[in-house]
């Protein structure tokens, strides 16, 4: 939110979707209550958004509840962040062809992604997208598949007013307010929405909407809700020296404790908006003339992940959990300049046995450093 925020009355909210369509975004995604959670789905009218829906999140539990009220964003997050839109769960990256004479040729399977606007992106997920950009786009080998899809996105962020019990974005510094990474920022009040631009594309869209400035009392109301959304978060990550603290406790007994509880299922890495590991594989056609080379989300909790032909580097769950946590909260700093955790809490909610990354990190730091 900034001093140039404008106000979109609730009754006119569909105009935002129409303006996005008018700006060339044929595909507009918004949160929709489906499959027991909130998923980004194509939307045409504001009424399709989850009006009156609340989410109740606990370690190992996610429930939606229908309540009174007209708010469409009175919840924290669903199972998915933006990740599947830019880093596809399973995709063909190139195709090989073999001629009858045995010649091989290779072609990229890259398609031109449809211009896509996403409405209702949380601050934690914008921070996570930034981290995925650092990994896939800003290294020595920029990933063309990721880059094209990222460049086709227009992002309408929405500040959080109702964080879940599992949220800790205030502790990681990534939320709850929309402050960066958005084309358009949005905050919801009972009477409608405050909108503000984050990019030139966002400014152009606001000009099309031609709305009145938000009033000072509306801005104060949003500030109050943001403050409330910050102070109600009870979970935190240990703040200072977390990376060093974990590195100094690689032999801590608590790794075995969490290793006993963890099922090594990989749910946490699938819902994590920053996890980037994937496997590559080939699927040859039955005619023997073509083969598709694919990549698919993978997890450091799988044996395949550290398979070395004659041995597995991380043969038990204790070592895999330690790999995940010391990477997420530790070596991300060395690789990408910050922690790999944005405080969305999904790994806590979607863990079948309710393992809580914040509780594990605190428990580990309470142990004495390795001798």
């Amino acid at each position: 939110m900034d001093e140039h925020s404008v106000f979109l009355p609730r009754a006119e909210a569909t105009r935002l979707l129409q303006a996005l369509k008018g700006a060339g975004f044929d595909r507009i995604l918004g949160p929709v209550a489906r499959e027991g959670t909130l998923l980004f789905q194509p939307v045409k009218r504001w009424e399709e958004l989850p009006m009156g829906i609340r989410d109740v999140q606990q370690p190992g539990s996610y429930r939606l509840q229908q309540q009174e009220g007209s708010r469409c964003f009175a919840w924290a997050n669903g199972a998915q962040a933006l990740k599947p839109l830019t880093f596809t769960p399973r995709e063909i990256i190139w195709r090989a062809q073999r001629s009858v004479e045995g010649h091989l040729s290779f072609e990229s399977a890259q398609e031109s992604p449809e211009p896509t606007a996403v409405v209702g992106v949380r601050a934690c997920d914008l921070a996570a997208l930034d981290l995925q950009e650092r990994h896939f786009m800003h290294g020595r080998f920029p990933d063309p598949w990721f880059r094209k899809r990222r460049e086709a996105l227009f992002l309408v962020g929405v500040s959080c007013s109702h964080p879940a019990d599992t949220c800790f974005c205030a502790s990681t510094g990534d939320g709850p307010a929309i402050t960066r990474g958005h084309d358009l920022g949005m905050a919801e009040l009972d009477e409608g929405y405050l909108l503000w631009a984050g990019t030139q594309a966002g400014r152009t869209l606001l000009e099309r909407l031609d709305l009145d400035e938000a009033t000072a009392s509306q801005r104060r109301a949003v500030e109050k809700e943001t403050h409330q959304a910050t102070v109600t978060q009870s979970r935190t990550l240990p703040g200072r020296h977390l990376k060093q603290g974990l590195y100094e406790r690689l032999q801590a007994g608590h790794w075995a404790d969490v290793g006993e509880r963890c099922l090594s299922c990989g749910n946490c890495t699938a819902v994590c908006p920053t996890c980037f590991c994937h496997m590559e594989m080939d699927e040859p056609a039955l005619n023997g003339g073509t083969s598709e080379h694919l990549r698919q989300w993978s997890s450091c909790f799988n044996a395949e992940h550290s398979f070395m032909g004659h041995f597995v580097v991380r043969s038990d769950t204790r070592l895999r959990y330690r790999q995940w946590l010391t990477h997420k909260l530790g070596s991300w700093h060395e690789q990408y300049g910050r922690s790999g955790c944005v405080g969305c809490g999904r790994c806590i909610t979607w863990c079948p046995v309710g393992i809580d990354i914040t509780a594990e990190a605190h428990a580990l730091l309470q142990e004495a450093p390795d001798a």
Binding site: I93, W94, A96, R98, G102, H103, L104, S105, F106, E107, S108, H135, F136, G139, R140, F141, D143, P144, L250, F276, C277, H278, M279, E280, M281, D282, P284, G288, S291, H293, R295, S298, C300, H305, S306, F307, M308, G309, H310, V313, R314, R318, L319, R322, Q323, T326, H327, G330, S331, H333, E334, Q335
Partner: protein, 278 residues
């Protein structure tokens, strides 16, 4: 140097040698002349080799980069892709993309003595460096080459080692854990060779490649001989699927072995390889 692309290029096998029961060498020629002329690698780097319909594997480059000829790779048939590659013959084609990774410290080694310690097929990634140094013999001091194998049948390139041995100030020491009747060299671990090795304490660079337990056993012996840890370099192996630091499989602590390595200065990786599970 040509930057590797996202897609493999077509390469053709121009020669093939069965080195042992399960190790073979192939020379590969990039089919497109434009790519062939601009392709440049550096000793210690690797290519991703693609077997049609099966997948890719990272394989180190054996040939000296200054050789204009085909690219040589020595491979052990151990998994799905390498077992398939083993069945290819001269004239067959495969995919190749690369070169990837950071290679051996040729600049740091210049003007110094060099100890090369390898075990098993770890001899392959160091060969291009040895060839590179021997072509520029005057640029390096004493060159000591130690190679250990599990069984005497596993030793490849016996003739090449014998030729290197004849070169001035080159010492070659070979060992096998199990010697056979025709085994004229040492019996035991590669580290037993270190007692006989010429390792000048001053100005010596050590490069190691092979199973991690072998390297971990050799390093304390180098340190005992007053080799500066800063001058010890290792090539590390992990599961690699993309080669470009994206897929995440090869991480060791903060390092992506595929692009930050595979060659590391010992102090940069020591803390991580000493721990189980990294």
């Amino acid at each position: 140097m040509r930057e590797p692309t996202d897609l493999p290029w077509e390469a053709r096998i121009t020669s093939r040698v069965q080195e042992t029961r399960d190790i073979f060498s192939v020379k590969l020629e990039l089919v497109d002349p434009g790519i062939r002329e601009t392709y440049r690698s550096y000793p210690g780097q690797y290519n991703m080799l693609y077997l049609f319909g099966v997948g890719e594997v990272p394989i180190s480059i054996v040939s000296d980069p200054d050789d204009a000829g085909p690219l040589e790779h020595t491979i052990r048939a151990v998994g799905r892709v390498t077992h398939g590659l083993e069945r290819l013959r001269v004239g067959d084609t495969l995919g190749l993309r690369g070169p990837y990774g950071r290679g051996w410290p040729l600049q740091a080694a210049q003007g110094r003595n060099v100890v090369v310690i390898s075990g098993g097929l770890g001899c392959a990634p160091v060969v291009s460096m040895i060839r590179y140094m021997l072509r520029r013999r005057d640029d390096y001091g004493q060159i000591t080459i130690l190679q250990g194998v599990k069984h005497s049948n596993d030793l490849i390139w016996r003739r090449q080692y014998q030729e290197w041995e004849k070169i001035r100030d080159v010492q070659v020491l070979l060992a096998s854990d199990q010697g056979g009747p025709q085994w004229p060299f040492s019996v035991g671990n590669v580290t037993v060779l270190m007692e006989k090795a010429i390792i000048p304490p001053e100005d010596t660079v050590a490069v190691l490649c092979g199973p991690e337990p072998m390297m971990k056993a050799a390093i304390p012996r180098l340190l005992e001989r007053d080799v500066d840890p800063f001058h010890i370099w290792l090539s590390i192996e992990r599961n690699m699927q993309c080669g470009i630091g994206h897929c995440g499989h090869c991480q060791v602590g903060p390092h992506f072995i595929c692009q930050d390595g595979p060659v590391f200065r010992y102090p940069d990786i020591a803390d991580w390889i000493d721990r189980e599970g990294f």
